[in-house]
């Protein structure tokens, strides 16, 4: 009886093994496990990095970034700028087809830019492209873009993951809103189906212009919000790639044979902004004291499990024109002295808000609370959820009554250039609700530098202006710069060619599965 049972069990196990074994020419299907649901497939209408990263499956832009955030031409071949910095003439690559079989040409460029610059379409990325005055198709493979005013970071804007080329025929067929459910681009994969909120599937596009690419047959993007479940999918082999890996679980995945844990540098800067319009943060000594009071090295260890480094400046290293100014030293004695000089020898009480409510942000907030307590600053923590963040911080109308004080937040400058790292956050005209200057910081010289840098196309002059701006900001300390975090991803060892870029977007041009 037992013997018979054992036999049948063995047979069953063998059958399982046989089922599990991979035939030599199996189709290469890859599963990505990501942390959020997709808001849309239309990059022009997406505010989140993830949706734009996913859209790279089927869309490409005129320009793009390689995995190290270097600007490269993609559908464009080359470009020239007029002397006054107003007219960009872009030559396009030839022989490229959209997934619906239509040709990619200058007319397509015009259709796409006309669409995003038309305010009636209400696209979320309107602001990034509103600088465009008009777009013309000079001939089939030459597009001419005229700007409203000189804007030297324009090509970076075109390389932003939102600036993609959508098939004009598909746009015509599905309409500006409908295209989000029927994306058609020039990318390596064509859209198959989107089962909200579980997954989105794409399959190899046989007519892709890069010969022999892509090297896998399909990608399934699975949204798995829970951290532990995402890690479990990797451990069981149900997914081949995941991002982000929660810092707490880095050790667990690292220890698993067959998995590779990758810590990539990022341009995500984490900082503590201080409302400079309000007492006691209007006093630079108080702001400096706070910056001195925080042990950034320990922060990296406690909240990021070591996968972060103290911030070197106000613009992350990998961003063009960033200047290394720090890290800001950790010095409790000095912090206390500065507080005493500012008239707060016993510290004070204030609010500490976190822009996020996930576990790492909670740890950071509690850590900051512990640190500030050491110098007598008692804080009340509130972890804002997205709605509260918009209501209480980002869309607050009157700067004078803004309730934000200490505000923990992060910023990823997805154009890879200093303008988008400084202007939205520290420019005098960028106070909420316009943009995200939550410190309500204004320094006339910094404003002049940022404006000047935008207007000039001279790289040396630009570098000089951005250096001056960053040095002044560092000195004024509207923020306590904290850390730049590492981006943790994991992939199975048989998967190659998938990279997390410094702005937390993905590059999977070379994706392959062995």
């Amino acid at each position: 009886m037992t013997k018979a049972f054992l036999h049948s069990f063995a047979a069953f196990a063998l059958a399982l093994l046989a089922l599990g074994a991979t035939p030599a020419h199996a189709s290469k299907d890859v599963v990505f496990a990501v942390a959020s649901t997709f808001t849309t497939t239309d990059p022009y209408d997406a505010n989140d990095t993830l949706s734009q990263a996913m859209a790279k499956s089927f869309y490409e832009g005129l320009f793009g970034f390689d995995k190290d955030m270097k600007l490269i031409p993609v559908l464009a071949d080359s470009y020239t700028v007029s002397k006054d910095g107003l007219v960009y003439t872009i030559k396009l690559k030839k022989g490229i087809k959209f997934q619906d079989g239509t040709d990619f040409d200058a007319e397509a460029v015009k259709v796409n830019f006309d669409r995003v610059t038309n305010p009636e379409n209400h696209l979320k990325r309107y602001g990034l492209y509103s600088i465009i005055a008009k777009t013309e198709a000079v001939d089939a493979h030459t597009a001419r873009v005229t700007l409203k005013e000189p804007f030297s970071a324009f090509i970076n804007d075109l390389a932003h993951p939102s600036g993609v080329m959508i098939s004009p025929a598909a746009l015509q067929k599905w309409g500006s809103k409908g295209i989000a459910f029927h994306p058609v681009g020039t990318g390596p994969f064509r859209f198959v189906e989107w089962k909200q909120p579980d997954y989105l599937k794409v399959a190899k596009f046989d007519g892709y212009w890069r010969k022999a690419y892509p090297k896998v047959d399909s990608i399934t993007w699975r949204s798995v919000v829970d951290n532990n479940s995402r890690a479990a999918l990797m451990q069981t082999g149900e997914a081949q790639f995941t991002f982000p890996v929660p810092y707490e679980l880095a050790g667990v995945l690292k220890a698993k044979p067959g998995l590779e844990l990758v810590a990539a540098p990022s341009i995500v800067l984490r900082y503590l902004s201080m409302n400079t319009l309000q007492k006691p943060f209007d006093n630079p000594k108080v702001r400096e004291a706070i910056a001195y009071a925080i042990n950034k090295q320990a922060l990296a260890k406690v909240a990021f499990n070591g996968y972060a480094a103290p911030a070197d400046g106000v613009v992350p290293d990998a961003v063009e024109y960033s200047v290394k100014l720090g890290p800001w030293p950790y010095d409790v004695a000095k912090a206390k002295k500065l507080l005493a000089e500012a008239g707060y020898p016993n510290g004070f009480e204030t609010e500490l808000w976190s822009a996020y409510n996930y576990s790492t942000a909670q740890k950071v907030s509690e850590f900051l609370q512990q640190q500030l307590q050491q110098v007598g600053i008692r804080t009340k923590i509130t972890l804002l959820e997205a709605g509260q963040r918009v209501e209480k911080v980002e869309s607050w109308q009157d700067p004078k009554t803004a309730p934000v004080r200490l505000y923990y937040v992060g910023w990823s400058s997805s154009t890879g250039e200093a303008d988008w790292a400084l202007r939205p956050l520290l420019y005098g005209d960028s106070w909420p609700p316009k943009l995200f200057n939550t410190a309500y910081y204004r320094n006339a010289q910094v404003d002049a530098d940022i404006k000047g840098a935008l207007a000039t196309t001279d790289k040396l002059q630009k570098a000089k202006l951005y250096r001056d701006a960053q040095e002044r900001i560092w000195k004024d300390a509207p923020w306590a710069p904290l850390v730049t975090e590492k981006l943790l991803s994991a992939h199975s060892r048989n998967l190659s060619g998938v990279y997390v870029m410094p702005d937390a977007s993905f590059n999977f041009t070379d994706i392959d599965l062995k």
């Binding site: 951290n227 532990n228 929660p246 707490e248 260890k301 909670q362 740890k363 509690e366 609370q369 972890l383």
Partner: protein, 293 residues
Amino acid sequence: MSATSAGSHERMRTPWSEFWRKFRRQKIALVAGAFVLLLVVVAIAAPWIVPYDAETYFDYDALNAAPSLAHLFGVDSLGRDIFSRIVMGARISLAAGFLSVAAGSIVGTILGLVAGYYEGWSDRIIMRICDVLFAFPGILLAIGIVAILGGGMANVIAAVAIFSIPTFARLVRGNTLALKHLTYVEAAKSLGASDRTIILRHIFPGTISAVVVYFSLRIGTSIITAASLSFLGMGAQPPMPEWGAMLDAARSDMLVAPHEAIFPALAIFLTVLAFNLLGDGLRDALDPKIERL
């Protein structure tokens, strides 16, 4: 049982000695009661018991350290001593449980007395409102109230209190309806006693035993509701060592440092269990119907 027919040779039984005679026969409830007593002592003496400050102490060199002699329950992901936090947390959880149920039972009892004694319109209005509140699953109602009042421990206590009101109101109303037709109440009425006197002196004492039983049963539920709200991020704000909040914070480190989740979870589990067992024991001891069976 024969012991209930009072023998003339026995000393007179006060209600208290009667209660104790029945209650001490229930071993489990006795143990639970002892545990609750211990919890109360710990909660009161917490500041003198804790080896480290629950909120301000930290040791970044011992992050996520497992339990040891220096740290009986280990260290959490922010370098804090978990034992100290659990002990201080007992204060918060017990206070939240007691305060919310006390508030809920007081308001509920008053409403129940009014509804049961006067009947008519006041009864209908009070009971319909209670029915509406009953229609919500407990935790959902509490979440709804916190969503309106805003987060924080004080509001959580208010929310749990509100969600305790209808049960007490209904319980007391039922007792009041039965009591007010008893002869001694009618006698008091015919002697010209005011409504106030009748309610407070003659009816209210008759409802006390039911309220006490329900009070003790309800504390367990209230503690777990308060902890759940904190677990969902709506109650205690960091760095408050509230058990539910600690459990929530431990979630992200659970695979690496399970002790961070185990101890707060155990604390909640044992406390709620003890209160429920104690409540069962009290019910068996106080409910005259059970003896008759």
